[in-house]
Amino acid sequence: MTTETIAPTAQARRGRWGAGSIWPVVVILVLLLVAIGIRQPEFYDPPALLAFLKRSAPLIILAAGQYFVIVAGDFDLSVGSLVTAEVVIAARLIDGDPAATGPVIALVLGFGLLVGLVNGLVSTLLLVPSFITTLGMYLILVGAVYTWTGGSPRGALSEEFRMFGRRGIEGVPWLGEIPYAVLILLVLAALAVLAMRSDFGKVLLAVGDNPRAARLAGGRVAGVRTVAFVISGCCAAVAAVLLGGFGGVSFQVGAGLEFTAITAVVLGGVVLGGGRGSVVGAMLGALTLQTLLTLLNLLGVAGALASAVQGLIILAAVAIGGLRART
């Protein structure tokens, strides 16, 4: 037998700091927030803080969705292209007509669900590694959107559609405006945490850890994995609605978001390959990434170089986490 008993102290150390733990990302986040506070104390004015949260909401939501997929042992590389597709579709269908907003939002959410469902079914029933499934989906969505629009986005989003990403409940004392994006974020975050505490979440973790054992314990492995993809697809749809509100309609809206989301999840201590890490960690990872970008902005690091600094800090953070996990 190779299972020698290892001392509880060692496990505790590993449990608190090693792979799957949220503490490293909390420390990084606090350091970044302190740095921002020193540089620009106004950042902590409630309205500014809420505005920052509003900007962060789409990435945090995407990271939460990606978390479900990653913790089950899969990847979802299609979310970036899905966000683009959703925004472009919404713009073309709404075409500035406010009356179309409601049905189109329903359609956007439904499309996200459908894409997630296809990703899940192809990965589970056809046994295609999810890296390939979602890579294929990425190619398909990009190609399909370009084909459908003939190369440049058409139409425009209605003000009602953009409201979710832009506006909020106004005139709240002290806080000023509470952005809808933040409210949506809070609701989804609460749902995500609840889901991971539920039986579904625990089975999902077991599936990511050891799918054979989960199946032999009576778990619906294919079903659980598929649900994870559906959650990721729906989160991407919500993120698309918010992002459509912030910015303009372009093919670049979602570009690269899949990698950013995966990076955020990993930064949050979640292990690629599944079975370890928490959804809170994943969301904090996304918040940390946004904080980092804000800080770089404040420090006057130009947009282009920011991606280099971002790369460096991610490598450092993950390396430190990895070295701590080493036994």
Binding site: G136, L139, I262, L305, S307
Partner: protein, 325 residues
């Protein structure tokens, strides 16, 4: 249970792609012919092979990574960077071609070394490590370059434009790189260790294989292949281009080509022959759609479907074989 597997003709994933290629050529040839064109005309063959060359060289490098159970997402940025290094070092002068080539190889090898060290010494997941390095290079490129830079002398453009009969020189370069890679993987000691490392890291390590060294070498080789592709693109474009790699989608497409060739993402299974088949298949599909004048964006959709379908077929066949045992 073992005799069955021996006697049954083995159409496994690596030669399956060649079968698919044959079928695609025949069906596509007929389709194009009925449309009034020819898939095998000089022009279309040349552009088909031309297209295959760039992706092919990167995919051969990516094959090493995937065989080792790793992957390299930084190749797209390495291609852009090395195209710039090549064009700026040459600066239009014939005499500076050699130093430029050497500089490209050195820089790409260094990037591969960094990738390898991050993965082996700092234990960063290959996905994140190469993504991070890619971001670093991307930042440098966006900071330093707004558009094409440098100039490639005419002498170096022979690589991008000359051909032997209907076969472009660049395609010969691709085949050459693939042939060397085949020998390295199948006949060298490093190749044996590479497949062992990808097949089972612990087994390799306990057998005395220095797996860290193998992984580092693998990433150096992969990056150098990307550098060679960068050289080719510089010669093709006449200058260095800061976005040529990312816009070409070389990172994900090279992985797709390798997987299309029957390699298993988890490592230890696959080969250069399959990758060459995968690259050619993608190029032929492109060629057919060009001839049929299908919306260029629609090709992308078909690509996605083909890749997923191919892997699904391999996976289902593999399960079928397991169940039969």
């Amino acid at each position: 249970m073992s005799t069955q597997a021996l006697t049954r003709p083995r159409i496994d994933s690596t030669n399956g792609v060649w079968l698919a290629l044959g079928v695609t050529l025949v069906v596509g040839g007929i389709l194009v012919a009925t449309d009034g064109g020819s898939l095998f005309s000089q022009n279309s063959t040349v552009s088909l092979l031309q297209r295959a060359a760039g992706l092919g060289i990167v995919a051969v490098g990516q094959t090493f990574c995937i065989l080792a159970g790793s992957l390299d997402l930084s190749v797209a940025y390495v291609i852009s960077l090395t195209s710039l290094i090549a064009a700026e070092t040459m600066a239009g002068s014939d005499g500076r071609v050699l130093p430029a080539v050497l500089a490209v190889l050195a820089v790409s090898a260094a990037i591969g070394l960094v990738n390898g060290l991050l993965i082996t010494k700092l234990r960063i997941n290959a996905f994140i490590a190469t993504l991070g390095v890619g971001l670093l290079i991307k930042g440098y490129l966006e900071q330093g370059y707004a558009g094409p830079a440098g100039a490639v002398p005419v002498s170096f453009q022979h690589l991008g434009y000359d051909r032997v009969g209907p076969v472009p020189v660049a395609f010969l370069l691709f085949i050459g790189v693939a042939a060397v890679a085949w020998v390295v993987i199948n006949r060298s000691r490093y190749g044996h260790h590479l497949i062992a490392t990808g097949g089972d890291l612990d087994v390799a390590r306990l057998s005395g294989v220095r797996t860290d060294l193998v992984l580092i070498r693998t990433h150096v080789i992969c990056s150098i292949c990307a550098g060679i592709a960068g050289l080719y693109l510089a010669s093709r474009l006449g200058a260095g281009a800061p976005r040529v790699g990312a816009e070409g989608g070389y990172d994900l497409e090279s992985i797709a080509a390798v997987v299309l060739g029957g390699a298993v993402l988890a490592g230890g299974k696959g080969g250069v022959a399959g990758t060459v088949g995968g690259v050619l298949l993608l190029a032929v599909i492109d060629g057919i759609f060009n001839q049929l004048a299908v919306d260029p964006f629609f090709k992308q959709v078909v690509r996605g479907v083909v890749i997923v379908a191919a892997v699904a077929i391999y996976a289902l066949r593999l399960r079928g074989r397991r169940a039969a045992r």
